[in-house]
């Protein structure tokens, strides 16, 4: 196993954790975002 392999594995685990946190947990935490700065439609 090379250094790159380790980097990829750690990166992948972190990415998967982040994706699931962002879409499942962060979405339900606190109040839903309200329209405000940075909310202008592209």
């Amino acid at each position: 196993m090379t250094t790159w392999d380790v980097v990829v594995i750690v990166g992948a685990v972190a990415a998967i954790a982040w994706v699931n946190w962002y879409f499942f947990f962060a979405a339900t935490e606190g109040a839903p975002r309200r329209g405000g700065e940075g909310e202008s439609a592209p």
């Binding site: 196993m1 790159w4 990829v8 594995i9 992948a12 994706v19 879409f23 839903p32 975002r33 329209g35």
Partner: protein, 801 residues
Amino acid sequence: MNGPASVASPEKVTIPVSGMTCAACSSRVQRTLARQPGVAGASVNLMLENAVVAYDAAAVTPEQLVEAIRATGYGAELASRDQTAFQEQEALDRGRQEEYSALRLKVGVSLVLASVGMVISMPVMSAPMTGEHAGHGTGEGAAAGDPFMNWVHGAIDPWLAGAMPWLYQVDVQLLVYALLGMTVVTMGWAGRHFYTRAWKAFRHHAADMNTLVATGTGAAFVFSLAATFFPDFFLDRGVAPAVYYEAVLFIIALVLLGNMLEARATTQTSAALRKLVDLQPVVARLQRGDAEVEVPVAEVVQDDVVLVRPGERIPVDGEIVEGRSAVDEAMLTGESLPVEKGPGDAVIGGTVNRTGAFRYRVTNLGADSVLSRIVRLMRDAQGSRAPIQDLVDQVTGVFVPVAISIAIATFAVWFVVGPEGALIPAFAAAVAVLIIACPCAMGLAVPTAVMVSTGKGAEAGILIKGGEALQRARDVTTVVLDKTGTVTEGRPAVTDVVLAPGGEGTEDGRAEDRMLALVAALEASSEHPLGEAIVRHAEGRGIPRLRVERFDSVTGRGAVGEVGGVPVAVGNARLMADHAVDISAMEEVAASLGGRGRTPMFVAVDGSLAGIIAVADPIRETSRAAIERLGRMGLDVVLLTGDNRRTADAVAAEAGIQRVVAEVLPEGKLEEIRRLQEAGAVVAMVGDGINDAPALARADVGIAMGSGTDIAAEASDVVLMRGDLQGVPSAIHLSRRTFRTMRQNLFWAFVYNTAAIPVAAGVLYPFFGILLSPILASAAMALSSVSVVTNSLRLRTLRLA
């Protein structure tokens, strides 16, 4: 069934929503709306691009709901209040047409660019990998890149090298730049909305189909960009600096193509609705003073008098004031025979006048017209959700993040476990997973089936008020039929005319006609429904009306009077006894008629018994066949009536019904349905929708028998536009078939996604060397959506009769 709402009496508003592309989008808007204070329920429809919200007007305004939708990243705008259903539908159709044209242009251009890109990438793929330029994954020694492109390369490269040798003379780096340029154009113009919508969703912690397409193509693009400008970085690590531009080009082109085919097919699902909208005539011929003027329908006002000639379409709703005709109402009620109409009868805008000319007074206009109400009701029905959709939403809600996780894992596993230099296939597999995981087919599975079948029902005069009713009707085990007006015509008619023995002229019917003429003349002054039946019967036989000199109604007994100087009495035995008329000769006949559920009325002329006229509410012509059909479908049929047992039994025997519940009060009907439900039955109650409203509401499925003009039956889930019991088995049949279609759709969509993801991830590679190309993945994804819509469209061919 109409469960208790959480607010006192919620208002309802339909808000058009734009920018939703898949089930995840609609469920996101729905969740947002449901979270708003004062919202009792929200139903967001992807196909109709609208949200129907039940809300408490004291807690929230429609404007706030619109704001909430906009904050989610979608477009929303309130429809103008006076807009009729036609205008709304036309606006929706226009918008769709524009969107479709724009999409078609994008598909055309992006397909051309993708094809050119594929040709250009051939010499790029053939070029040896050096540090000077990026190449493609097929360079010597590199593991397989995109398998589809490799195959194409093997197939057309030799031929292309012969046909276009100059292309192979061009500097490879230049070709790569050309590919990059085309990709930027495709991503920035044709596929722009994938990225903007994905970004909007992302900011709200949501992911949908756009997220998958955007991440898949975005990752491929960034990778290619790095390979284009920093090839040495890859070469130094023993990895070919492959570019993936043509994959990005093809994925966007194919996903757009899928969207376009899908848009075209979903337009067809609302074809029935559009047909109804097209029924609305443009002009009406009015009588203004002595002149006839043609005016646009929009300018017609209440109480205007409209002239209609044979063959013309009736412009608006009204009531005939002069003239007679047969009117073809098939387009609204499914009734194939023209309906005879005369003064006082209602005519419906959109139906076709066949034989005669007539004048009528305008009654309902604009949003209140029957046609407009049907269109609105159908739009609401088509926009409603079937309960099975909740399951789909739950799945699609978690599907996208899970798919992204699988894609990341795929990349890591390939990178670590795969052959030397497996960066390229690792990347291809991850992109393929992202692309193939799009849950579009799942999002379309249920709504398209609801749309097609509600449209199909409406064509046959069966208005189903939504996906929920549609799904529940499939589980019905017991059909409870109200008697009067449902199994029977609901209008008494003369069934028997029997003369007293020993009378004259019995052979040629003269005596019968004379008796009828006398009785009809007398009853013409009465308002009793039985009397009306006799008058109608006499008119139907062409018997001239005689003059009445004296008329007295005797409550509970009948009527007496004098016609042409002759004393006449019509009524029951007690009335005859009051007038000392001997009825012994016909008592047996009367008893026998009574035993068959008919009401016998004795007729005395000049103080002696002339005969009996029996009146009954005859069963509808089609009732027996419909009840047989229900039996064949495995349903229990129960006759429920407030009438006496004898009449009920007689009707049941004639209609072929085994179970009879008679002599029940209106509250008793409700109780009876509750009892059946407690015994485990799923009950469909069929009634006229007015007297039976509580029972219809209590039943699992309430079916109202409309009379063509009366579609408002609020308490019901299904309205039969035509007074024909055949609509009941048809509705249940339609429901069963629709549910089957939904299940097939969902099955295929789930199977497709669950089976295709592992293949895309490369589980077959170690055993068979099979790896799914991202390009093929995008083609398969487009195909799966189209196949689901096509399966729903098959419902259009269903025979309901």
